[in-house]
């Protein structure tokens, strides 16, 4: 399979690059952003054929790297004149194919709009360009005792603009909220090229809350070029603990018990016995290799409050059957623990050549029950599942492991994934807590929502994007629902045939 890829690449490299005359559209785009701001050659475009959801691939026709809002608007208008779809992209760490190109599309990559334009500590907010990397913002304010609270595992790479498009979460959103709770306003280039602000530097601007649904709209409302985001005061103290369980169900019950006891930890994460050896090998923390599951619990706030909540959470774990509760002894150990947690997906490659991860959510009261369902579904479909999740939010990331060299596995993997997500909905939950719908879960929208509600969503999209030229075929199913399902499977199957690797790199969540 490796050979096939190499052959394909070498075939492409024979194409004489200089002989390809720029199309009229490419010339227009070059006039807007400069020659070095446009890619239109097939082999250069390969990087942009998918995001971290690699089951479906499609090269854009052109990739553009604007540096200002005005350039973005001009590019959008040029694309409109040529009636080609526009697909926005940040760092490409999305897990649901939200930045998958359309045929003939112009992809607008925001990575060159990476300036933090203003940091306002007294008002606890910052004005950033969409291409600013999440962690860079936190680093810029941490000396002053602040952070940008949403912390997806991909935070070292993912951008604020991408976070806004997906309403990204992360381990600490349990206490601090997701991206929408930290976005004050966005500058949005509409699909017609107009520029508007939704929200602003202060909260409560009169009118419908269009900012709310814009966050998480996966690039279907337009392109966010700048945003005012909140900065969060770092807590005085944080206590991080590891609760070790010999029984998987007991660990899930402990999560429900902690929430029911009225404790709001800063983070409450769970990893199972498939993950543990992988992250231990990768991070050498001293994780117990014989445990069935561990909970990673962090409480924070004022010193006294964090300590008392930690003690109560530890006691509940013990009462729920934990064999041991360890506390990180210093900041170094705490950071080590979090590095291991955030690198969990990357470490999974040690046990399985490939996997697909799901992002279902269930009510916290039904976590233990749902985990049993995941096991049952895995057995029924004869697949192995590794579990890591934001347990305190009820947000599951079951990873279905497989080997793409055995093509018979893939249909079972996809079916198991769908069965898990459908159970999440049956339990009153959601098919995605933080990764988004993209193209990956589009066929489940009709299972999750009534036709009337989907119709209202479509109406809302049409307010922003009436011609559906902006990231079309994402998020909302078209009227050809059944065909879409079939296509998702076909894409996945053809990806296997081409020897592409499923989500093998360090995948964020």
């Amino acid at each position: 399979m490796e050979t096939k890829i190499k052959q394909a690449r070498s075939a492409r490299s024979h194409e004489p690059r200089t002989l390809v005359a720029p199309t009229p559209l490419v010339s227009e785009l070059q006039a807007i952003v400069g020659v070095d701001g446009v890619i239109a050659q097939s082999d250069d475009l390969m990087v942009y054929e998918c995001d971290a959801y690699v089951a479906a691939k499609q090269q854009p026709k052109t990739v553009v790297f604007p540096t200002t809002t005005e350039q973005v608007a001009a590019v959008v208008k040029a694309a409109n004149r040529h009636q080609v779809p526009v697909v926005p992209r940040g760092a490409g760490t999305g897990l649901a194919g939200g930045t998958l190109a359309e045929t003939d599309s112009v992809m607008i990559v925001l990575s060159r709009m990476n300036q933090i334009q203003e940091i306002d500590i007294p008002n606890r907010c910052a004005l950033v360009e969409a291409g600013v990397v999440n962690l860079h913002l936190t680093r810029a304010v941490s000396d002053q005792g602040f952070c940008y609270a949403p912390d997806p595992s991909s935070q070292a790479a993912c951008t604020i603009g991408g976070n806004i498009a997906n309403n990204s979460g992360g381990p600490h959103t349990l206490k601090y909220g997701v991206t929408v709770n930290h976005t004050l306003g966005v500058e949005l280039v509409l699909p017609n090229g107009d520029v508007v602000w939704l929200g602003g530097k202060v909260e409560g601007i009169p009118g419908y809350d269009l900012l709310g649904p814009c966050v998480g709209s996966e690039g279907t409302f337009g392109i966010v070029t700048r945003a005012w985001v909140k900065l969060t005061k770092l807590p005085e103290a944080a206590n991080t603990m590891l609760a070790i369980f010999d029984d998987f169900d007991a660990s899930a019950q402990a999560v429900s018990n902690i929430i029911a006891a009225g404790i709001i930890p800063a983070a409450l994460e769970m990893l199972d016995d498939v993950f543990l050896p992988c992250i231990e090998q990768a991070y050498k923390f001293g994780f117990p290799l014989d445990a069935a599951a561990i909970l990673l619990i962090e409480t924070d706030g004022l010193k006294e409050a964090a300590a008392e909540e930690a003690a109560r959470a530890a006691q509940i774990c013990t009462e729920s059957g934990a064999r041991e509760v360890r506390t990180a002894k210093d900041e170094k150990e705490r950071k080590h623990l979090w590095a291991a947690r955030k690198g969990a997906f990357g470490a999974l490659g040690r046990t399985s050549p490939s996997y697909v991860t799901q992002d279902g959510v269930v009510p916290r009261s039904r976590l233990a029950e749902m985990l049993k369902e995941v096991k049952r579904i895995a057995q029924e479909h004869d697949v192995r599942v590794a579990n890591v999740f934001h347990a305190g939010d009820g947000n599951l990331h079951p990873c279905i492991l497989f080997d793409e060299r055995d093509t018979s596995q893939l249909p079972r993997v996809l079916e198991a994934g769908e069965a898990i997500l459908k159970r999440c909905i049956d339990f009153g939950g959601s098919v995605t807590g933080e990764h988004g719908i993209g193209v990956e879960k589009i066929n489940l929208m009709e299972y999750a929502f009534t036709p009337e509600t989907l119709g209202a969503m479509k109406d809302l999209r049409n307010v922003f994007n009436p011609d559906n030229l902006f990231n079309p075929s994402k998020l909302l199913p078209s009227s050809r629902g059944c065909i879409e399902v079939g296509k998702a499977y076909q894409n996945a199957a053809s990806a296997i045939e081409k020897g592409m690797t499923f989500l093998r790199r360090g995948v964020p969540l």
């Binding site: 306002d120 008002n123 997906n166 309403n167 959103t173 997701v178 929408v180 508007v196 602000w197 202060v202 909260e203 409560g204 009169p206 009118g207 419908y208 809350d209 269009l210 709310g212 649904p213 998480g216 709209s217 005085e236 429900s256 929430i259 029911a260 006891a261 009225g262 404790i263 709001i264 706030g301 004022l302 006294e304 409050a305 008392e308 959510v361 009510p363 916290r364 009261s365 934001h390 939010d393 009820g394 947000n395 009153g428 939950g429 959601s430 098919v431 933080e434 489940l444 929502f449 009534t450 009337e452 509600t453 989907l454 209202a456 969503m457 109406d459 809302l460 999209r461 307010v463 998020l475």
Partner: protein
Amino acid sequence: MDLLQRLQDEFKEALPVRAAAPSDAVDGVTSQAVAAPADATTAQALVAWCGREKVSFIPRGGSTKLEMGARPQSCDLIISTENLNAIIEHDEGNATIAAQTGITLAALNQAVGEQRQFVPLEETGLQSGATLGGIIATNYAGMTRLKYAAPRDLVVGLHAVLSDGRLVKAGSKVVKNVSGYDLNKIFIGSFGNLGLITEVTIRLRPNNAASAVWRGQFKTWQEAIAQARAIFEGPFEPTALRIHAHSATFFVLAQFDGVEKAVQIQMERLPAAVSQDDIGHQAGADGAGELRLRAVLPLQSAAAWAQQAQQLGADQIAWDYGLGIIYAIYSKVPDNAVDVVTKLRAQAQAEGGLVVVERAPHDLKTPDFVWGAPPSAFALMRSLKNTFDAAHVCAPGRFVGGL
């Protein structure tokens, strides 16, 4: 045929309905009838009927915030949610409750209190009887918003019926959800302008083990601000933090909640308190006044604005420090009310802030006087209104730009 008769003919005994009284008027606009559907299906049918028959309506809960919003263009019918007051599901372990929107906050809190939980919403300072629906429709948050956030951040699901008869089911009961567009948000704070919200699912919080209020008295703005700032920036985690200025007397109120030891330590870090009165009653300014403005301002511009409001005749100022929200309260409407509002609004806008008029005499309450000029995204808002309420019967004229 009059509206009351038409409603009776259409819905028979399924819909409790009566003729409107003068006291049912909204901003002086009288309606013909008051209908109080007792179940969600009837509510949906009623709103659909209003859309078909072009009957304008305003949803009404406990009437505690009915004074907010511009004077309606018309209001043929009041849809009262008084009979839509059932609890659908209290999921204690998930820390959420789903209820119909006519239930009062007090009743909700009573229901969840048995499980040592509470609904982190507030009534306005002076009035009780606020309903879940009214709080959500106005996105009303009091001073505990500093810790507990606003309805916008607490609602995880809702049902709304549109004037074209559609039932929209936004979100679900889970606390984290990015499947599709978050339709919750456009209804929260929309003042009944897009449809009738019939059911809401909202996050709950665990009861606090301890709670304390600190209250300090100061002689100048500077001293009061310095104290509030010390609490906001120092080793404190206040649930609420308010500067309350009453002519030349300044109070700083700070509320602390949580584990006992932490509450105690925060109180000990502060100088001796003036008294321990309940902060809610002390600072009931939110609901007061004959003319009441609500400004939102960046911190560095807030003090100057508050002082200007005082100079222009405000008797009381309530400044939620850390939120940038300032209420300017006039116990009597000044003769030059329009000038006062125009001046204060211009000053706020010049600093990147805004002013909304929460209470004013009916005849002044044009959309631009109440809300200010429409924002840059107004064309999108109008398009949304035209799509979700094509019949223009949902609280017409109440919202920004006369939507």
